[in-house]
């Protein structure tokens, strides 16, 4: 059986993993790091334009083969399993949370406080923005003060967004372009400048931050070893101890040959679904409920933010598709006065939109419409402009908002797959009607400008930017990890990124996933310099049945 040894074994190769590996390799240059990923590496940047053409013309997957057929689940999950993870597809929105997110209990008497200070998180936001290469402008709100400006100037507002900003700000609420990990300056981090291709989910020019770039760079610099197509099935403790000794895996293309990873430190960086799943799968007589689960908290408090959208017809002339994945944000409602009842916090976004008016084949008199007549009829019926507005609003999970193992569904290795059910806590449920009423009122106020009219509203049927399952906290009875992602039960086992978030705030989560991961990296590095596992120089080793080692 191949046995791979390293100082740090990172399980999962998404955005948190990429930046953790990068920072660890900088803080402890001699550290041997192996990153293990169940999916494959899609390092064919030269094919991006071809994939893009197929995606635009036929709707084909622009990241072909970025999923594993039998590695699925019930509930809202990301199917992405490839080097780069879900962030291969991301739109690169890099909004910060606000200090209120970390002080829900102490400020509002709701849910829980996070076990870290805003100043500490803010410092790591700055670092995340530098590493991801974020372009953006300053927020007008004092509470959003940044200790360092964004590393790149904001993306210029396209003509449609300029019209929509004027429209939105008639409410008195300031709007700005959303900060994004896209280059507005050529060469930042070796990336090209954004060419406004309008397909940010599969940026063909490399202007958007993508974790596969980081992995390729770390591999070229021989700072990590990357084992893709390798599914970790179980973590195993050292005999009689609580430290993790090994990760048992299988190579998907050599299913008959198990693989083992031994490391001083294990980091589970497998996102909000597969992190809890692996810990639960790793049950043993000492931890019958799964690793890091002495108090039954693994898989609990799965979270995300709820959302409501509306389509608004405007008297303002607006054209769609000028820069479709770039929009406006207002942070007007990020904060809620502590004495305001009911509590409500949300972001507020605007994009230009298709007017959603069908191209009809008959006019009101039943006359056939083709060609120029059809186009003229459509032009007569559309409004001058159409906007889509959306609010992500803060909701808090109940303990029973959970990921469990589903014995009815197993992968080809016989491992039960995860099942996720999101549930709100009682306080969230109680204020939901008032929250929705408030948000619809906000939309109405916006629409009232320039004789706008709301023509449709949509309520999200799932929680966006899901997180949780390995909640960070001070008390092991109610959390899985400490603020650094170190599990309470196993000194050398960390969980990083999305799973550790107690709540998902009220705006995009990726920047926060990365910021808390970068903070975890410092703690992991400290272990290798303060009497913890010492760094072995020489990189990751491989042995077969203990017969010597070889670098990848």
């Amino acid at each position: 059986m191949p046995v791979h040894e390293s100082d740090v074994c990172i399980i999962g190769a998404g955005i948190s993993s990429a930046l953790l590996a990068e920072k660890l390799s900088e803080l402890r240059p001699g550290l041997s790091i192996i990153v293990v990923e169940a999916g494959r590496r899609i390092f064919d940047f030269e094919n991006r334009f071809t994939y893009r053409e197929r995606a635009l013309d036929y709707g084909e997957n622009p990241w072909p083969g970025d999923w594993i057929p039998d590695q699925s689940a019930e509930g809202i999950i990301s199917r992405t399993m490839a080097v780069g993870g879900q962030a291969l597809h991301w739109g690169a929105a890099c909004n910060r949370f606000s200090a209120e997110d970390l002080r829900l209990k102490s400020m509002f008497g709701l849910y829980e406080d996070w076990p870290l200070e805003w100043g500490d998180l803010e410092k790591h936001y700055c670092e995340a923005e530098r590493r991801l290469g974020v372009s953006g402008g300053p927020s007008p709100f004092p509470g959003d003060k940044m200790s360092r400006p964004y590393p790149m100037p904001p993306m210029p507002l396209s003509w449609d967004l300029r019209q929509l900003k004027i429209w939105g700000e008639k409410t008195g609420w300031p709007f700005m372009g959303i900060p994004q990990a896209k280059n507005t300056v050529a060469g930042y981090d070796g990336r090209s400048i954004c060419m406004r291709c309008g397909t940010c989910e599969f940026c063909p020019t490399g202007a958007k931050y993508s974790p596969d770039f980081t992995f390729k760079r770390l591999l070229a610099q021989k700072k990590i070893a990357l084992h893709d197509n390798t599914l970790i099935r179980k973590l195993v403790l050292a005999g009689g101890k609580t430290t993790v000794a090994a990760a048992q895996a299988v190579h998907r293309e050599r299913p008959g040959e198990p693989v083992e990873y031994r490391a001083r430190t294990f980091v589970v960086a497998s996102g909000y679904t597969w992190s809890s799943h692996l810990l639960l799968l790793s049950a043993n007589p000492q931890f019958p409920g799964g690793l890091a689960n002495r108090t039954g908290q693994v898989g609990k408090y799965m979270n995300g933010h709820a959302f409501i959208s509306a389509i608004v017809n405007l008297d303002v002339p607006v054209l769609p598709d000028m820069n479709p994945l770039f929009g406006l944000i207002s942070r007007q409602f990020f904060r809620c006065p502590p004495d305001q009842k009911p509590y409500v916090r949300h972001d507020l976004r605007i994009w230009s939109n298709d007017p959603r008016v069908p191209l009809r084949l008959k006019d009101d008199r039943g006359r056939l419409l083709l060609g120029d007549d059809l186009a003229a009829d459509w032009r007569r019926r559309i409004p001058p402009g159409t906007a889509r507005v959306r609010a992500y609003y803060d909701v808090h999970p109940d303990e029973s908002s959970e990921l469990t193992l589903d014995p009815a569904h197993k992968n080809r290795w016989g491992d039960p797959l995860p099942k996720i059910v999101h549930r709100f806590d009682a306080a969230t449920e109680a204020r939901l009607p008032a929250t929705k009423q408030h948000i619809l009122g906000v939309f109405q106020k916006m629409a009232a400008n320039d004789a706008g009219k709301i023509v449709a509203t949509f309520e999200g049927r799932y929680l966006d930017h899901p997180a949780g399952g390995c909640r960070m906290g001070v008390d092991p009875a109610t959390s899985v990890t400490n603020s650094y992602g170190r599990t309470h039960d196993h000194r050398n086992l960390f969980v990083v990124g999305a799973p550790t978030l107690p709540t998902a705030g009220c705006t995009n989560g990726t920047l926060t996933f990365v910021a808390v991961t970068l903070r975890s990296a410092e703690e992991i590095a400290r272990d290798f310099s303060a009497g913890g596992p010492s760094a072995r120089h020489g990189g990751p080793g491989t042995s077969r049945g203990g017969e010597g080692g070889a670098r990848e």
Binding site: R196, R217, P320, L361, L374
Partner: protein
């Protein structure tokens, strides 16, 4: 990170759309086996002249018809369509919508013959009447968002009007949504087409 050569290739690829408009690129012969025969392609051109805007000119409607034929040829049933965000089931491309086109084109031709001429030689009013009846029979009231096979005339309109060229035509603006347009022009209103 992005290699210089890779980046240059990307830039060249990004510039191609500006040098060669999409309708011109569509004229590059497809390598895939023909799914639309030459006579059918000629019929598509005749049909395009009826259902697409005459203001495109005959060369313009021919170009769209040829591009649609290329789209049909390069369609890959069973292709990985990925999975939408939040959805657990990956999807694959359904069978080509073009399966029924030969029969539908033949039916248009037969209807024209019943009026005493070929479809191509009928006057425009006669052609419109035949197409209108076919769309009525297929119970199509709006142009479908994407070609779905219900009728070739509707799919041809869908291909054009919901494509980037159709969007520009409808808004009379050079939005060029599928092209990499760069940032400098972004703050300006797209130029009018006519």
């Amino acid at each position: 990170m992005v290699q210089r050569r890779t980046f240059l290739k990307s830039v060249v690829a990004a510039i191609i759309p500006f040098l060669f408009p999409r309708w011109l690129r569509a004229r590059i012969p497809a390598l895939a086996p023909d799914a639309v025969s030459a006579p059918e392609q000629a019929q598509l051109r005749e049909l395009a002249a009826v259902v697409l805007p005459a203001s495109l000119g005959r060369a313009g409607t021919d170009a769209v018809a040829d591009q649609f034929a290329k789209w049909i040829r390069n369609y890959k049933p069973g292709a990985d369509l990925g999975y939408g965000y939040g959805f657990t089931q990956p999807r694959v491309a359904p069978p080509s919508p073009a399966g029924g086109y030969p029969g539908q084109l033949a039916a248009l031709e037969a209807a024209a013959k019943a009026k005493g001429n070929s479809f191509a030689r009928l006057d425009r009013a006669g052609q419109r009447e035949i197409v209108g009846a076919a769309l009525e029979q297929a119970k199509i009231s709006d142009v479908p968002r994407r070609p779905g096979g219900a009728h070739v005339a509707a799919d041809l309109m869908s291909f054009f009007f919901y494509g980037p060229g159709g969007e520009d035509f409808l808004y009379n603006a050079a939005i060029h949504r599928d092209e990499c347009r760069g940032l400098p022009d972004s703050p300006r209103r797209p130029a009018r087409l006519r």
